[in-house]
Amino acid sequence: MAKEKLKKIEDLRRLREKLIEQRAAKKSWVIISSGTCGLARGSGKVIQAFKDVVKKYNLEDKINLRITGCHGFCQAEPNVVISPEGIFYQRIKPEDAEEIVVETVLKRKIIPRLLYVDPQSGERIVYKKDIPFYKKQRRLLLENNLMIDPKNINDYLAIGGYEALSKVFAGMSSEEVIEEIKKSGLRGRGGAGFPTGKKWEACRRAKGDIKYVICNADEGDPGAYMDRSLLEGNPHSILEGMLIGAYAIGASEGFIYVRDEYPLAVENVTIAINQAKEYGLLGKNILGSGFNFEIKINRGAGAFVCGEETALMASIEGRKGEPRQRPPFPAQKGLWGKPTNINNVETWANVPLIISKGADWYSRIGTDKSKGTKIFSLVGKINNTGLVEIPIGMTLREIIYEIGGGIPDNKKFKAVQTGGPSGGCIPKELLDLPVDYETLTKAGSIMGSGGMIVMDEDTCMVDVAKYFLNFLREESCGKCLSCREGIQRMYEIVTDISEGKGKEGDIELLEKLANVVKDASMCGLGQTGANPVLSTIRYFRDEYEAHIKYKRCPAAVCKEIIQYSIDEEKCTGCMACIKACPQGAITGEKKKPHKIDQSKCIKCGVCSEICKFDAIMVE
């Protein structure tokens, strides 16, 4: 359908009214979550099944299917929300589609089998708003993912999209926009937490006829996918944020630097840009304001270090993604030497919200120094895996136990890792810490872009440090000697420790080396790369010592120093482990205790998983 160009703010208002009216006429919506995570769990087939059912019963006029981005509750994927009541069905299979349409959509009857069961109370919960995972959140950004089909700009317009832009064009000067953002207290969501308004102001004041804005969507932390969800589910909010930012700064060109590993995000953003262009919301003389703006997509090749702003710009310019010394800062000399403002996806997505609802409203959310909400991806050993959006300042305990639903299988909580490879591990003693930029930094971690990995008692902290060091030694650009050699050497030392080859003095050497890596490296990657090691030593020194002094892994994780054996009293001789062992290392007769041949055992742990009698011992 060809779209008519919107020439004035008035045109946009009229179009919105029309769209809202059209949508009000339709009564029931079936909202299917289909982000990358949903697709991975089979939402593609679910969508097709719903389409077939609607066709079969000739319900095209009565039922509206909305295929949206991620709903945030990964655990329940693929899930379906039936509006207007907000009935929540989880883990839908294609065969459920017919039943849902016939029973719930047409007869308004609940299907108990598909409801979410609270792991703590065992209760079945009907409505989305009552699910503990959603209840405690403050979903200012993520909730919109349910309201719109990301491939359809009209959905975004109908919920008030591009209203903030109209407001800016209707009567705000660039300075006023910057002032509003400054007043809101918005800080960079990429992790460092630099005040966004200040950043914009610096770029606004920098001399230069050409200026650029960049959206940093090079999300690379293991286990973090906040930006992906926003790009996939609500790409226009980012475009609108960038439009407002560009207007405030005086830029006429923008770039979205997104990982090519996010094909759906690339696809949805590309569609969004094209649709915005068709309406004239991107291009020349936008809404008759005289302001011109274009956005281009740059696909990153998947180097973690390209999330660092100077490396990212080098990559856009077509050079090797290597950070450089700041100053000059991007606001002074950025892309192709021109003043450039670069913000994270989530930061941009917050901008339209602040402009339309006002800085005063926004600054009431959060703490003294950190305003607004922050999205975290809550993963690891946690009951409710998913994306959570919370007002900054909520405690870790609330996030993990009330939203996350605690640790599965009645295990004990050990630590939570925030900030990805640049962050650190926070132990259970500090669970009541409020989550904000300053507090987490003081605790030896960082807020980061929003990764939150929960670890239970079965996690070995030396192993965790080793994992992140291995990630970093591969992902450091390798320019700074301190970062490249330092991280490699830390990895070697920690590997030795985990293999029982640690020596006395290793911990002290690690600490010294880590501090030099932190001090002497040029960019954020090196400066924070030692955090996983330093924080695990700080809070779990005894585990390191157990590995070094007693060659013992307390969590029984480090393969080289653990041994599997069979408790003769508990073993019933059921032979289950004998069949399961891939190495044929277990021998024994039926109804007699079995034995493990240590020379053949590869410590895969299959026997321990399969044994129903707890007879496999790990030491």
Partner: protein, 231 residues
């Protein structure tokens, strides 16, 4: 003109001057490895780090790439800086113990042991050759490939380069190619032959004219034996 303070001394420099150049102007020596006057500063070896700022708000930056700023307070040899530099040289030594340049740096800084596994690599990845080839020889025959611990200098696709004129400039500027003298006990990681900068050979050969500067103690063992014999 910009005024900044280095080690308590005020110095006035032109805009665009780096901290390293300003320090040099004052006669303060800052150790470097990947720096060369004729090439663009790169900031890879981190040896030239200095501490900037005052109070609790100080940080370490590479002086070869950091521009002089008005009122900047710089310390080139604070405890934090010297300790970091020592660790950096130890890391270099563990990678390239065969380089005389690095051995000399180690001796100068009083590093007598290496706590990491020795690797005997022949490249320290300072990037001097890459910049030399690009900026002075205008050839761009070599560059960095891969990242992290896999990083290395090579030609595109590791094929013999069409644009290389085998001028040898890369070898000329390489600090790792310059092999260490074989010293008195070559198998050790740290030579430290130059720790003692007074030539030991004077005990035996009073008029010996040494061509090695600084002294590399080529005759240390021989001299010691001779002294022992004379006793």
């Amino acid at each position: 003109m910009i005024t900044l303070t280095i080690n308590g001394l005020d110095v006035e420099v032109e805009e665009g001057t780096t901290i390293l150049e300003a320090a040099k102007f004052l006669g303060i020596e800052i150790p470097t490895l990947c720096y060369n006057e004729g090439l663009t500063p790169y900031g890879a070896c981190r040896l030239c780090i200095v501490e900037i700022g005052t109070g609790e708000n100080t940080k370490l930056v590479s002086s070869c790439t950091y521009p002089a700023e008005e009122g900047l307070v710089v310390r080139t040899h604070s405890k934090r800086v010297v300790n970091a530099r020592k660790m950096l040289v130890e890391l270099m030594l563990a990678r390239c113990p065969g380089s005389k340049t690095i051995q000399d740096l180690a001796s100068k800084m009083g590093i007598t042991k290496v706590r990491f596994k020795v690797r005997n690599d022949d490249c320290i990845l300072c990037g001097l050759c890459v910049r030399m080839c690009k900026e002075q020889m205008d050839a761009k025959a070599i560059g960095f490939v891969n990242r992290g611990y896999m990083r290395e200098v090579t030609t595109p696709f590791r094929l013999k380069s069409d644009v290389c004129r085998t001028c040898g400039a890369c070898m000329y500027i390489c600090p790792a190619c310059q092999m260490r003298c074989q010293g008195p006990e070559p198998p050790t990681v740290v030579c430290n032959g130059c720790l003692n900068l007074s030539p030991p050979c004077l005990e035996i050969y009073e008029d010996k004219m040494c061509y090695m500067d600084p002294c590399v103690a080529c005759l240390k063992k021989e001299a010691e034996e001779e002294i022992e014999k004379r006793k």
